[in-house]
């Protein structure tokens, strides 16, 4: 085992998010001790109150930027981090809270809060990469814990993480799930969504919800045309592309076609 001082330091940061991606790291129950063996978990408030000051070799950032305070804080996180990796749909694409980007957020504030004057919020929820340079983006709502481990291991060994950019369909076929779109006409975002989750939903007879965001070169327009031909109405097409990754450029553009 390496001495504490020699081990690279890891920090886990939270912005606007549900904590689910951080929990994915804590969920690595079998591997967590091995992780702690090779990397010093220096700043991870969700796991421990003890905070070892930066700078940090690796920062995992969860959540999107939604307040002026967070906008400033991410700059400080970047300054303290050698490598900055975003984890999850919020940090990578603005998250479900980016639905506000399509509306006037002040109108919500007036409805929701008794004293709107206490609220200091940005008009949009945005990805970390919109504010600071990001070394690697890991998608997913939440991230897949095996993929998260792979990113940490790759970082430790100075190699590129094995994280695919292709469709969920390839994962479906590899795990031997029969295509729901072809056999049952179930609307499925798998052909335009990035793999990584292990194609969970289709294996349980539900179409892909697109939690991992757009795949490389997603052809959302052709898929939407096909779904429309099979009877999906405009409102549903809009909602289909406007979930956890609503603000990712490809899904945003597609949803706007159905406004």
């Amino acid at each position: 085992m390496k001495e504490t001082s020699q081990k690279p330091k890891l920090a886990v940061w939270k912005f606007a998010s549900c904590d689910g991606c951080q929990l994915s790291l804590l969920n690595c129950e079998d591997e967590l001790l091995a992780v702690a063996d090779v990397i010093e978990i220096a700043n991870f408030p969700e796991a421990s109150r003890e905070v070892i000051p930066g700078p940090y070799e690796l920062s995992l950032v969860e959540g999107s930027i939604t307040t002026p305070h967070d906008k400033a804080r991410i700059q400080e996180v970047r300054r303290q981090s050698k490598f900055l990796v975003t984890i999850g749909a919020c940090a990578t694409a603005g998250g479900i809270q980016a639905l506000r980007n399509f509306k006037d957020v002040n109108a919500f504030i007036d409805i929701v809060y008794a004293h709107p004057d206490y609220i200091s919020s940005l008009a949009t929820s945005s990805a970390i990469a919109d504010h600071v340079p990001v070394d690697f983006e890991l998608p997913g709502c939440p991230v897949n814990k095996q993929q998260l481990l792979e990113v940490i291991i790759a970082f430790l060994h100075d190699r590129k993480p094995n994280i695919p950019h292709h469709s969920v369909c390839i994962e479906c076929k590899q795990r031997d799930t029969v295509c729901l779109a072809v056999t049952q006409d179930i609307p499925c975002l798998g052909p335009v969504t990035r793999a990584g989750c292990g194609a969970i939903c289709p294996a349980f007879n539900r179409g892909c919800y697109g939690c991992f965001g757009p795949m490389e070169t997603p052809n959302t327009e052709s898929l939407a045309d096909e779904l429309r031909d099979k009877g999906m109405i405009t409102e549903d097409l809009l909602r289909l592309f406007r979930t956890y990754n609503a603000d990712s450029p490809a899904f945003k553009m597609e949803s706007e076609r159905h406004e």
């Binding site: 091995a34 481990l149 390839i170 590899q174 031997d176 295509c179 056999t183 052909p191 052809n219 096909e226």
Partner: protein
């Protein structure tokens, strides 16, 4: 040339004996079963595991199971699986390594597959297996996984008595009648009075098995009925496409406008390549553990529709979806001929059925042939 082997009749009620003999001989019997709304290949414990009385209806982008009005054992067409599931598994560990001092020690993986008996292999699928044999075993370097699995594998083929709307084996000259490469071939015959198989061995191994079955000699009427089954499949062939000079046509239509149409339509999801029984590309990925003590090399099914497939330093060679579809089609129908001496397409229609937006290879070929651009002679 070996002399033709005799044909026999095997009663439907004795079909289970065939499975039992195979099991006694140590084979793992795999074949069509009904699961998740489709006919898939899986372990066959008994005849009842076959999709008895079921059939399928296929169109571009759709597949539905339907009940038949008889109890046919093989009354359906090919489904989403192909035999490459067994001969070229979707994920294989190639080797692993463990750190030893300043170096590392390699642990070779030895694939120890069961002795497979494939039940219900169709003519087009047999051609696909033979095409993959060339790919994996035809050159200087043999793929030990495919070769090892193929060595003891027994093939019980079935002549198609019907065809799907997406079938076009007659255009590819790969069916519907099984022609070679089988150990046993069956034709299922159901008439008002009887349900039986015409059975023929195609190898010594197959002949030894047939010898153990309670078969009876065939009559001319049985042979006529078997021929009628294949004729019926030919008549039902849902798609036809003229593949004459296809290599030259595709080669001189590299800039055809149709590729731009495909750019708009194709999802680049890779489903066609996963379902295709001849697609053989794979990714090789190295993984390491946290402590860098152990590393493994894995091979998994790859697809020419991914950006990674043609990634070289600096980027992907085929960034547009149209260029990736063109690469796939050109390889299947044109450059495969140069590479392996046959077409890479067997006309099974899986790429048509399992495309989520129903892109039809036969339609694309026709569109390009009918709208040639530039000077066809040049």
């Amino acid at each position: 040339m070996t002399p033709p082997r005799p044909l026999y009749r095997l009663d439907r009620n004795d079909f289970g004996i065939l499975l039992n003999i195979l099991k006694e001989k140590g084979y793992l019997t795999v074949g069509p079963t009904r699961r998740d709304g489709a006919i898939l290949y899986g372990a066959l414990e008994s005849v009842d595991d076959l999709p008895i009385g079921w059939t399928d209806e296929q169109e571009a982008g759709t597949y539905r199971l339907k009940c038949r009005d008889d109890d046919a054992l093989f009354g359906y067409n090919v489904g989403p699986h192909s035999w490459k599931k067994y001969l070229f598994p979707s994920k294989t560990k190639l080797w692993s390594a463990t750190k030893k001092g300043s170096g590392f020690e390699i642990d070779r993986e030895t694939d120890t597959p069961p002795k497979y008996a494939f039940i219900g292999v169709r003519a087009c699928e047999l051609h696909a297996i033979q095409i993959q044999d060339k790919v994996f075993m035809g050159g200087t370097y043999q793929d030990p996984v495919h070769a090892g699995r193929r060595r003891d594998c027994l093939i019980i083929a079935v002549n198609c008595a019907q065809a799907a709307n997406t079938c076009f084996c007659t255009s590819m000259q790969t069916g519907p009648k099984v022609d070679n490469g089988y150990d046993i071939v069956l034709t299922e015959i159901i008439d008002k009075a009887r349900h039986y198989f015409v059975i023929e061995a195609g190898s010594d191994r197959g002949a030894a098995i047939v010898k153990k079955l309670p078969v009876s000699p065939v009559q001319q009427t049985d042979m006529d009925a078997a021929a009628a089954c294949v004729e019926n499949a030919e008549k039902q062939m849902g798609r036809k496409v003229d593949m004459t000079d296809i290599k030259d046509i595709l080669t001189r239509n590299y800039d055809n406008k149709r590729w731009a149409e495909l750019e708009k339509k194709c999802l680049a999801c890779g489903n066609c390549t996963m379902a295709c029984p001849t697609c053989f590309c794979s990714n090789v990925e190295d993984i390491t553990d946290l402590g860098a003590e152990h590393a493994e090399r894995w091979r998994s099914w790859g697809s020419c529709f991914t950006m990674d497939f043609s990634y070289i330093h600096g980027g992907s060679v085929r960034p547009s979806i149209g260029s990736r579809y063109r690469q796939w089609l050109m390889h299947k129908l044109a450059t495969w001929l140069d590479q392996f001496g046959t077409s890479g397409c067997v006309g099974c229609g899986r790429c048509i059925t399992w495309c989520p937006v129903g892109i039809d290879l036969t339609e694309e070929v026709k569109a390009i042939c009918d709208n040639e651009e530039g000077d066809p002679s040049g």
